[in-house]
């Protein structure tokens, strides 16, 4: 902060203190920027704006209340059954759902920039660290020593296996960048192939060099990153998209009730498994029960914590007589839904919908991006914040 701006701060604070002396109701703890922008506005708006939290605005957006009060009431978390609130709550059914996930099993693929950057850092490291001491790792004139010598010669005297042809100490030490189109930095094409070739034993146990390439014992290459399920795009299988999180979604046959804006209807909808919460059960108990009832018990699952990670509110359909009236709650068929989702992890097993009690007809294991196309838009928007980055 420069001296002049510090002076400006002091000046503004001086002005503010003058102002507060005139109208004593201005709170003292207002940040400088807010105070500067609102000196002309009335003190009441200042108070409101400072207390208006993001969460309050979010709930206001989610539940368009019919009342026109400027500040929305805080969301009720504990049960405080006042008469008016109870009549409002009856219009919603409380449901508990489960978002069952399979965490990524593989590391993610590096971007070309990342792999190039890592190669560059490795080469810099070669320039700065002490040279490799062969004598410490290979005893003179043993089979491993001979093996090392052969491989070192093939690598043009570079002890490191994954940095390509680069001599950090010679005259050309500066030349540490790879050319365009080089596969040296690429993990799959460059590094893995080099390491596999290097893992072949070139000398037999009696110290004889194995000249014929067919005689060398080849190490088992790593499994491919994509599986058979990926090739077939079999969304029911759990061994697909191994480097991403998979989420279990189920198909609900012909949604009985329409949504508030009249759509939905008889089409099949993909949702997360969910069920009504009876009075004697907690959310996580219902979630576990619903999972067992819908997707079967042949899964080793773990429900993470007891708190929901997302919620979805389906507002009740508009009543035929008038627009949203308070006493329309008597008709139980026209109720909305509040679904709270818990997070689950699957360790083993597979979903099985045979004989499920919730009328689900199909299931899929989908990634975050696929969910966007599968779920309904407002449903997706309400749960998307719990999705993992990958």
């Amino acid at each position: 902060m420069s001296a002049s701006s510090r002076g400006g701060r002091a000046l503004s604070s001086l002005l503010r203190s003058q102002h507060t002396r005139q109208t004593s109701s201005v709170p003292r703890r207002v940040c400088i920027q807010c105070a500067n922008t609102t000196t002309t506005t009335t003190t009441t708006t200042l108070l409101q704006s400072s207390r208006r939290a993001y969460s309050a605005t979010a709930t206001a957006a989610a539940e368009p209340s019919s009342s026109s009060s400027p500040i929305p009431p805080p969301p009720v978390t504990t049960s405080s059954p006042s008469a008016s609130q109870q009549s409002q709550d009856v219009r919603y059914r409380i449901k508990s759902g489960i978002i069952l996930t399979r965490p990524p099993l593989l590391t993610r693929q590096l971007t070309p920039f990342e792999s190039a950057f890592f190669l560059y850092q490795k080469r810099l490291n070669e320039r700065l660290t002490a040279p490799f001491r062969k004598e410490f790792y290979f005893k003179q004139d043993t089979a491993t020593d001979l093996d090392w010598k052969i491989k070192l010669k093939e690598r043009h005297g570079v002890p490191a296996k994954d940095i390509g042809r680069y001599n950090p100490r010679g005259r050309m030490g500066w030349n540490d960048e790879v050319m365009v189109g080089s596969t040296t930095s690429d993990h799959e094409l460059g590094v893995v192939q080099k390491l596999l070739h290097d893992a072949e034993a070139r000398v037999s146990e009696d110290g004889e060099e194995i000249v014929d390439e067919a005689d060398r014992v080849k190490p088992e290459p790593p499994q491919p990153r994509t599986t058979e399920a990926d090739a077939k795009n079999d969304t029911r299988r759990l061994d697909r998209k191994l480097d991403q999180t998979l989420y279990l979604v189920v198909k609900r046959k012909g949604a009985a009730q329409k949504t508030a804006d009249g759509k939905g209807g008889d089409e099949d909808v993909w949702t997360f498994p969910a069920g009504d919460v009876p009075t004697h059960e907690a959310l996580h108990e219902t979630a576990a029960r619903v999972l067992a009832e819908s997707a079967g018990v042949n899964m080793n699952t773990w429900i993470v914590g007891r708190v929901p990670v997302a919620h979805y509110i389906q507002s009740p359909p508009p009543t035929t007589t008038t627009t949203t009236t308070q006493d329309s709650s008597s008709s139980s068929s026209g109720r909305g839904e509040k679904v709270f989702f818990l997070k689950g992890r699957i360790m083993a097993g597979q979903a099985d919908l045979a004989g499920n009690k919730h009328g689900y007809t199909d299931f899929k294991w989908l990634t975050k991006d696929e969910l966007k196309d599968t779920l309904e838009e407002d449903y997706y928007r309400s749960v998307r914040n719990m999705f993992e980055l990958r």
Partner: protein, 353 residues
């Protein structure tokens, strides 16, 4: 108050409300944005990544090593080389060191070299689970800053004021301990425990008699961590053990970030499963502020792949064990234990917080 001084005498004579008005006017002038626009006009809009790809002929021609080799006359190497200054002589000195991120800087440390597996697991799976597990609901719209403030301030014991000499007297430390313990903070989206660093230390009292023990210990830690360990000295005189203060009798090193995750990964997936009759880590470990520790016996050190690969090179009788201190950003032992359990370390016995 420089700005106040800058305001001219005539302006100061104006009524306060007018000054306020003019002050706001200068604030809204937005000089910075005008300057930024002028700068942005100078920028090239084309990205280098979007440049057209070179033709094979052009690629063939571009051979920097060939050009360097063909050059007939070269300047002495000193003309090409820049050496950063050895000493930092303060921020006002004309000669300044380059930032440590610059490869030419003296304190440059290369890296990262990869994206560690365990770190990716942490980021993709563990962190969000920990956040969900330890979620502590606070109804929105209420201020909880006050509570937190109460908790973290005024934790020292005051004086009751029964004596006039209590006035201005310094407050006392809590009973039973000369230091204040950390206050446990809730796990939130911006406070998820993470591995910060790992210190590995060995104590080699035999090195007082024979210095070679120290060499073996150093080589061992160097092989395991890839860093140059520092030598520690004994702190106290204990005649029965033949210890004298200030003797070189130990080695330690600290690894941070990716290296720490890699080391932990090796411990969890290679070393621990191969230790005979291993029960886990003692539940009573921890210093009360989120740092857990365990030890390896000398025989267990041979399991580390870096040592196993040339175990014959080490004098096996001189190979020491070591202690591993995992420092986390957690503020209590139970949070740190939660993190390590999620990463795959089991704990046994009584758990102490």
């Amino acid at each position: 108050m420089a700005a106040l001084r800058e305001v001219s005498r005539s302006a100061r004579s104006l009524p306060l409300s007018q000054i306020r008005h003019s002050y706001q006017l200068c604030q809204r002038r937005c000089a910075a944005t005008q300057a930024a626009e002028a700068v942005l006009q100078d920028l090239e809009t084309d990205s280098t990544l979007g440049a057209p790809e070179l033709s094979p002929e052009e690629k063939k021609i571009f051979r920097p090593w060939k050009r360097a080799a063909d050059r007939k006359y070269t300047l002495p190497s000193s003309r090409y080389q820049y050496h950063p200054p050895k000493y930092n002589r303060g921020p006002l000195h004309p000669i300044q060191s380059p930032p440590s991120s610059d490869p030419i800087a003296r304190d440059f440390v290369p890296g990262p070299f990869n994206l560690p597996r365990l770190r990716q697991t942490y980021q993709s799976t563990v962190a969000s689970d920990l956040m969900t597990l330890a979620y502590n609901h606070k109804p929105p719209g209420e201020s909880h800053e006050h509570e937190q403030h109460e908790e973290t301030t005024d934790r020292l014991r005051g004086w009751d004021g029964s004596s006039p000499y209590h006035k201005n007297r310094q407050k006392r430390a809590p009973r039973g301990s000369p230091v204040l313990k950390l206050v446990e903070r809730d796990i939130t989206f911006r406070n998820i425990p993470e591995i910060k660093e790992i210190t590995i230390a060995t104590f080699v009292p035999e090195a007082i008699k024979e210095q070679d023990y120290l060499l073996v210990a150093r080589t061992m830690l160097l092989a395991i961590t890839g860093t140059t360990p520092e030598i520690t000295k004994t702190k106290s005189n204990i005649a029965q053990w033949g210890l004298k203060e200030g003797e070189r009798a130990g080695v330690k090193t600290t690894i941070y970030g990716n290296a720490a995750y890699e080391f932990l990964d090796r411990c969890i997936h290679i070393v621990f499963p191969r230790i005979k009759d291993w029960k886990g880590i003692k539940g009573t470990t921890g210093d009360g502020s989120g740092n857990l520790a365990w030890g390896f016996q000398p025989s267990e050190m041979a399991i580390f792949p870096e040592i196993e690969v040339n175990y014959a090179m080490y004098p096996s009788k001189m190979l020491p064990g070591c202690r591993v201190f995992v420092k986390t950003t957690a503020t209590s032992d139970r949070q740190a234990r939660l993190l390590l359990q999620a990463l795959g370390i089991p704990f046994y016995g009584e758990l102490r917080n």
